[in-house]
Each structure stands twice: as structure tokens, then as C-alpha cells.
Symmetry: C2
Subunit: 492 residues, 2 copies
């Protein structure tokens, strides 16, 4: 395994691409824009899924599964949503191949097997789900309906990057229905908070909660809540969104309910999702020029033990110690792997585990056998210490928490030092080009100004922060009046 | 909730369809042949997934994810596989919609967004996976490669039925690569055994292990191992298959490895899968005219507690008891739900839980409060008994095992009494039409005879059982010589 990564300073984008491939997380496939998620990458995604799924269930949601393919007529029903996704849809038009009479051994689309109505590979599932909810909701007794789906979706993106933007990606999409507007808004906020908690406690990524400006809103939403993270190159990454959909989909699909008082009304809706894009955020937030750095709470292997030996007797003795150690660590719910492969030398193993971000490496060599010690190396700080065998379990247990916290704190400090208040457009452009990060600036609230700023600087409004303090000011671009600052950044 | 199901005797097929819908397991969607898996049905599937996933990991497999869409040229590469699936493929030909100039507000396929090469929505993933493995396998050190994928697949079936045969279904597909033929065969057999163990221990379904005849083999396989179950109507259901693929895919995708001795050779392959079809098998094996019957090992709620009360004080007292009981049961890893909905009367709750197959119902009423008892009702036998509060935990714990075993034994007895040895074709036809089930008969081993028998009787060879005893005989149809009996049946 070649571990010479391009450094972040040299070429951040190249560093990322190389890291994803070399750490065995994912790779490009033969299908334009679609990735293969390799076992190590998928194992991290599985850990994310497990925690999110637990959090969704704890907040009262159930999983279900809806069709991959959406008839075009359903897709069209909510006009804004359809418009928002129409330009990047994979469309199924035929249902059969046949032998190609002109090319023996080859197949061609059977022209007689044309569908009467084209089917859209879901880019998001509001349409098919709300069409289904129509049959499920009659009365207030059927509400709230709190459903989540784990699924693949396809959006025909033109420029793709592993995890960050792929034509097919994996995600979860929650779709809920409520009696009242207030309850739906509360749900949208709740799920945005769930995402923030997950990002902070498991991914060790600090996020800013807020709402999107109109032009950045989900197609079909009344309000889009989001969490925004900051990557090491100073670009922002939208890590999750939660939409208050008002009655838009209920009206488009005619989903009404009878209230306790016997009145008929359209139901209120939310939808919310996070995707394998989170893998990109995780990688870019913590990793360094030596490779991946994983927070213990999401590492498939939290600890790896590497034996260093010359003789079979030494290996035997080391293995005995390693096995005892693993028993103790597993009893504390710490995942640990004994890397006793004979095909690789210790140095090569060290390099691989470093590249793959295993939080803690324990090496046991001949000297350790004599002294009753082991060497413990942290991936995040690259520091090592020799500790007594008796202290391994407690030390490792403490380090798991310590590393998780240290990664979060480091990311938080970086993020906090990269939120810059600016009051002039020159400053805006200057900070954006030199320092990067979030720019907190006054904005006049118009789509036109937002578009102009984007055109000139490529920065977009990432969010209007939830904890924004009302403050009168003048728009950094137009000079018109503003009631508060919003966060701009270049973004993934 | 209307609970009047058509009885099995009246119309088995109608009974099944009604049950799936009324028990809230799944329903047809707006997309031809595609189903919506409802939360209750999905919760059962999740339990299956969790156990299977654990078993796959315990046998050394890792999960990964490969693209949904397969370029036609890759799909064509393994000729037999392509031929086998070509006639039931959903084909993506375009990647963009546009506003329809003739129909304001409607969308149409953008004729300028035609793909250069069509993409097939995966009906199975051998092609894309083996094309990927080419890059992953160079040396014996890269082998074995033991990978599983949880995914959705699409097969354009013309006649569909909820869970049993749907255009889109959920499944897992294992794809492994090995150094030797023997090792690959061993893997294919191992995974067929894993499926059998899962079916028997969790689904409480006895299965017959065997291999398929040539004409029933997976397209592209050298040998197809399978597990076959028997439904209550006497029809067989293939519950899982595991394929030894020889070097067919390795040759089609040019996947070679360098052996320890430095020789180049094509790798040996297997693939194996089970799908949401298992839900159909589970439902049809155990359920009765009152609804679903679930084995405790797969029931989302193993126990439900229903309070019966007239006064608020009674409810309060009952709730106190229920909460203590739930604490005790959960400590024993028994899942339990307290059904204290105020919108339904106890009778309606009983009917719902019966319909939905909750293994055990505990009712607590005013008399129970006086006597320190509860009423425990078994779903499988529909028997009730009143037991002392003190004995609830141990009784429930024992009943979980007892019900699981009872369901398996009942299904096994039914299956065993429906395997009939026949030696003449008249007997064959007679047994098939009157008794149904598996028919153990001699077969001359030719595709022609198999086809003739299928044409005349609709019965197919379900498998050549693994535990078949060599026995010379004469083919039940052709009179030619035969070396052993095979199992015929009509099948789902
Ligand atoms: Zn900086
Ligand atoms: Zn019978």
C-alpha cells in the first residue's frame, strides 16, 4: 500500500481524492458519476446508520420502504419539486433487451418494450410517498405519521466527487405528516437538532444550525433547516437538511384529514435527510497528510494490536497477551482487532492503520514482554507512550473519550477562528480569498443581491443562523438596510 | 380495522393477499408491480436483516455497495447471465426531463439528453461487481474476497404478488472470489447452510437443502444450491439460493490472480442471495384464518399488554403493574409493548394484535387486580391461561421458546407428511392435484423430460436433495433409467 499522499497544502482537492481511494473507502466505478463504496468505507457508513437509526427510533419514527421508480405523472404533481429535480433525472423508458440482429452476442433495447409512461429513478421520494400517504391518512387518529426510509437515490450530477457529489448516493429520508403547522415546524426543527447532535457527538464535527435563504431552499419547501460544517480548506459543507413543507405536497396529492372537531384540512409535512455525503465531511474535517483520522465513536476498529517479534515463541507470548487484552477491551465495548497477518511487516501495518485512521494502535514487542508494557500510539496526535500492561484497559477507555473530545475541540477551534465578521464588500472578497471560512455579513434579504454576490465571489448564503442576534446594519453588497447578519461561504 | 379474512380453504391466494394488506405488511403502489413495504412489514424485514447480517459477518463477510445502474456493455459480458435477465430489465435511456411545450405544467423526456450507452437497473450485480473485482484482485493475498451487499434490484416481472414476486425487491447478494474450485464450492455450500439455519432457527421454517437441475439453475452458474420450503397450500417456495459460478464471471471480466507458486489463473466465484420474498414464506408458513402468526424470534413485538378497565383508578393501577412487568421482560431481552391507546376498545386491540401475529398477549383487568393475576393468550394456539403476577416473567420467557419450537414442529410435521414417494406418472399427477406437496420421484436426468413434466403438470424439479440416497430406478415419465429420486412440486 503506497501511502504517499499529496499534502493538503499542496493540493487539498487532490489530497482528498487520493485519501478516499488509498484508505480503501470508495472508488469510481464503470458507471459515470457512480461510486463503489468499499468494505472499509461501508463499515464507517454502517456505524453512522446504526446511530442515526437509533436516534430516529428514539424520537418515534419507524422505517418503511417505497418504490425506486416514480411514474412521471406523479413526479410532476408538486410543480416546484419537479422543476427542481427535472434536470438531473435518470429516466427508465423501456423494460426489455433483445438480441441485436446486427451484432451477434450483443443486446439492444427492444423497441417494442417501450413504457407507456416513463419512470423516474427517485432523486428524492416526496412524490411517491405523498401519493401513498393519501391512502393512509383519513383522520387525526392517523397522525402524526412519522416515517423514515433508508434508500439509494439518483441525481444526474455533471461534476461528481467521491462521497461529496455522486450520481447515485445512499441516504435516509424522513417524511412526516402532521395535524398542525406548529407541530410540523417543531418536527423539522427536532430532526435538524438530531442531525446536529449526531454530527457533534459521533462525527466530532461542530455545526452551525440555521435556515436557508429562499434561493437555497429545497424545491417544494416552505423553510429549509440545515446544519453547516466547515472543512479544513475553509469551504463550508451542508451536512444535513430538514424541510418544513407546509401543505404543498398535501395539496399536490390531495391528502386531507378529518380533525377532532370534524373539519377537513390538508395535512402539514416535513422531510429530512442526510446521505453518504457525511462520509466526505467526516474525512475532510479530521484527516491529515498521513491519511484518515477517525473519531472513536465511528471507527470500525477503535484499537488495533500489532505484534512485533523475531521468534515463534515471542509471537506466541505476545498473542497470549493480546488475546487477554482483547477480552478486557471488548468487555468495555471497545472494538479491537489483532493484526497478526504474516504477509506484512510491522512497519507496513503501522502505515496502513495510520492511513486508515484507526484511533489507537497498540504495539507489543520483545522489550514489552520483558518489561510488562505495551506501546500505545494515538492517531490524532501521532504521540506514543509506553504503559504498563495492567493499565491498558483503563488507559484505552480514557483515550477513547479523550480522542473523541480532542477531535471535536480541534475542529471547533478551527471553525470558530474561521467565522469572520465583515462590513464591506472589499473585506468580504479579501477574507474569502485569503482566509476562507464563514463570513458573517449583513444582507438586504433580496434574491438579487444574493445572486450578484454569488456571481462575483462564488460564495453563497450557507444559512441564517438560528442563534442570530437581531442587529440593524447595511447590506455588504447593496448598501440597503439589513436586520441581521447571515453566513456566507464557498461551499461543497 | 376489518378483520374478516377470506379463509385459506375458501381461496388461499386471496387469503394471502388480504392478509398482507390487512396486517399492514405491504401494499401495491402506483408503480406497476412495485410494492410499498409498510412500517410493520419493514420492522419484520429489519429483524431478518439483522440476524442474517450477523451470520454473514460471523462467517467472515464484509458489506460494501456497488452501483444501481449497469452499463449495457458490462451487462452483456457474461452471456448466459445477460440472456437470463435481458427480458426483464428496466432500462435508463435518458438523463433529463424538460418542460413539455405542448402541455404547460407537464414534463417530457428531453430528447437531447439521450445516453450514449443505456444503463440497466441492476436485476442482480454480478456484472458490475466482477468488473470492479478486476481492479481488486491481483494476487492470492487478495483472496478470498468475501463481500455482501444489501440492495434493491429490479426485474420486470409480468405477474406480480406482494413480497413473492415484485418488480422491485430488497435483498442481499453475496459475491465472493476464491483461489480454488474446492474453496468456492465450500463457500457456496456454507452460505446455503447459513440460509437453512436462519430459516429454521429464526423463521421456524423447515427447509430441504439441495441443488437445482440444469434448467432451474441461475443464469451463469455452474451449480445452484438452494433451500426449498413448503407452504400450507402444498406449493413449494424457493427461500434462498447460493451459486457456484465456476470461472464464468472471472473469464467474462478477465479477473486473474497470481498464485503462491507464481502462476496466473482465473479466480473462482460464488454468489448467494435471499430477498423480501422470505416475508412471503414467513407469512404463508405459519399464519391462519385469523391473520398473521409470527415466530417470537422475528416478531417486532413479542408481547403486547392490553389494559381492561372502567375507571381511571383501575387504569392507573394496571399501568403501574404493566410498567413493572415491562421492565422485567425487557431485562430478559423480550420486546414488549403496552397498548394503552384510548382510541380503541380492548376487543378491537385484541383483534388487531391477532391479525398482526403478536406471539403473546397479556390482558390485565379489574379481576386480575383483585387476584394478582394476568391473562396470557398465545397467538399460535389461540389458548389462554390465567397466571399469577409473580410468574409472568418466567412464563413468558418459557413461552417464547415454546412457541418458536411449536411453530417449527408444526411446519415440519406438515412438510414431512407432504413428501410423497411416487413411482408412476398417474400417481404423480394424482398426488399433485389432490394432496400437493413435494413428490419424490425418479427422473432420467434429461432437460427434455423435465420440460415435458412441467408442461403437463406445471410441477418443476425443486431440487436434487443433498441427503438423496443413491437408488436405481426408472424415470416416472420416460421409463429410462435413473440413479436417484428428485423432488418435484408446483412452486411459487
Ligand atoms: Zn485558516
Ligand atoms: Zn395436506
Amino acid at each position: 500500500m503506497s501511502k504517499n499522499l499529496t499534502s493538503r497544502a499542496e493540493d487539498y482537492s487532490k489530497w482528498y481524492n487520493e485519501l478516499v481511494v488509498k484508505a480503501d473507502l470508495a472508488e469510481n466505478s464503470a458507471v459515470r458519476g457512480c461510486m463503489v463504496i468499499k468494505p472499509y468505507g461501508y463499515a464507517i457508513w454502517e456505524k453512522m446508520q446504526a446511530e442515526l437509526d437509533r436516534m430516529f427510533k428514539e424520537t418515534g419514527h419507524q422505517n418503511a420502504y417505497f418504490p425506486l421508480l416514480i411514474p412521471k405523472s406523479l413526479f410532476e404533481a408538486e410543480e416546484k419539486n419537479a422543476e427542481g429535480f427535472a434536470k438531473e433525472c435518470a429516466i427508465v423508458t423501456h423494460y426489455r433487451l433483445q438480441n441485436d440482429p446486427d451484432n451477434p452476442g450483443k443486446l439492444r433495447v427492444d423497441p417494442d418494450a417501450k413504457l407507456e409512461e416513463e419512470l423516474i429513478v427517485r432523486p428524492t421520494s416526496e412524490a411517491i410517498i405523498w401519493n401513498t400517504y393519501k391512502g393512509w391518512i383519513q383522520s387525526y387518529r392517523d397522525l402524526p405519521l412519522l416515517i423514515n426510509q433508508w434508500a439509494n437515490v439518483v441525481r444526474w450530477e455533471m461534476r461528481t466527487r467521491l462521497f461529496l457529489r455522486t450520481a447515485e448516493f445512499l441516504w435516509q429520508e424522513g417524511h412526516t405528516a402532521h395535524e398542525t403547522k406548529a407541530e410540523a415546524i417543531q418536527e423539522a426543527e427536532l430532526m435538524n437538532n438530531v442531525y446536529a447532535t449526531f454530527a457533534e457527538n459521533f462525527m466530532a464535527i461542530p455545526v452551525i444550525k440555521g435556515v436557508k435563504s429562499e434561493s437555497e431552499r429545497f424545491a417544494g419547501a416552505v423553510e429549509t433547516y440545515c446544519i453547516e460544517a466547515l472543512m479544513q480548506d475553509g469551504k463550508a459543507l451542508q451536512a444535513g437538511t430538514s424541510h418544513f413543507l407546509g401543505q404543498n405536497f398535501a395539496k399536490a396529492f390531495d391528502v386531507k384529514f378529518t380533525s377532532k372537531e370534524g373539519k377537513q384540512d390538508y395535512v402539514w409535512a416535513t422531510s429530512w435527510g442526510v446521505s453518504t455525503r457525511l462520509m466526505g465531511a467526516l474525512i475532510m474535517t479530521h484527516s491529515d497528510d498521513k491519511g484518515l483520522v477517525l473519531p472513536p465513536n465511528l471507527a470500525p476498529n477503535q484499537v488495533v494490536i500489532v505484534p512485533i517479534y523475531k521468534t515463534d515463541e515471542q509471537l506466541e507470548e505476545i498473542s497470549k497477551i493480546a488475546n487477554l487484552m482483547m477480552g478486557d477491551l471488548r468487555a468495555k465495548h471497545i472494538s479491537v482487532k489483532y493484526d497478526n497477518r504474516t504477509t506484512l511487516r510491522p512497519g507496513a501495518k503501522f502505515a496502513q492503520h495510520e492511513l486508515q485512521g484507526v484511533p489507537l494502535r497498540i504495539a507489543i514487542g520483545p522489550k514489552d514482554l520483558e518489561n510488562g508494557t505495551v506501546e500505545v500510539a494515538r492517531r490524532d496526535t501521532l504521540t506514543k507512550e509506553v504503559i504498563a500492561l495492567d493499565n491498558v484497559t483503563s488507559t484505552v477507555e480514557n483515550l477513547m473519550t479523550e480522542i473523541q473530545t480532542a477531535l471535536y475541540t480541534k475542529a471547533l477551534n478551527f471553525r470558530d477562528s474561521h467565522v469572520t465578521l465583515v462590513d464591506t464588500f472589499d473585506e468580504f472578497k479579501n477574507v474569502l480569498e485569503t482566509k476562507g471560512g464563514f463570513i458573517s455579513a449583513h444582507w438586504d434579504g433580496t434574491i438579487e443581491t444574493e445572486a450578484k454576490i454569488k456571481e462575483i465571489t462564488k460564495a453563497t448564503i450557507r444559512c441564517i443562523p438560528t442563534d442570530e442576534v437581531p442587529e440593524n446594519g447595511i447590506c455588504v453588497y447593496s448598501g440597503s438596510s439589513s436586520k441581521g447578519r447571515v453566513l456566507f461561504a464557498k461551499a461543497y
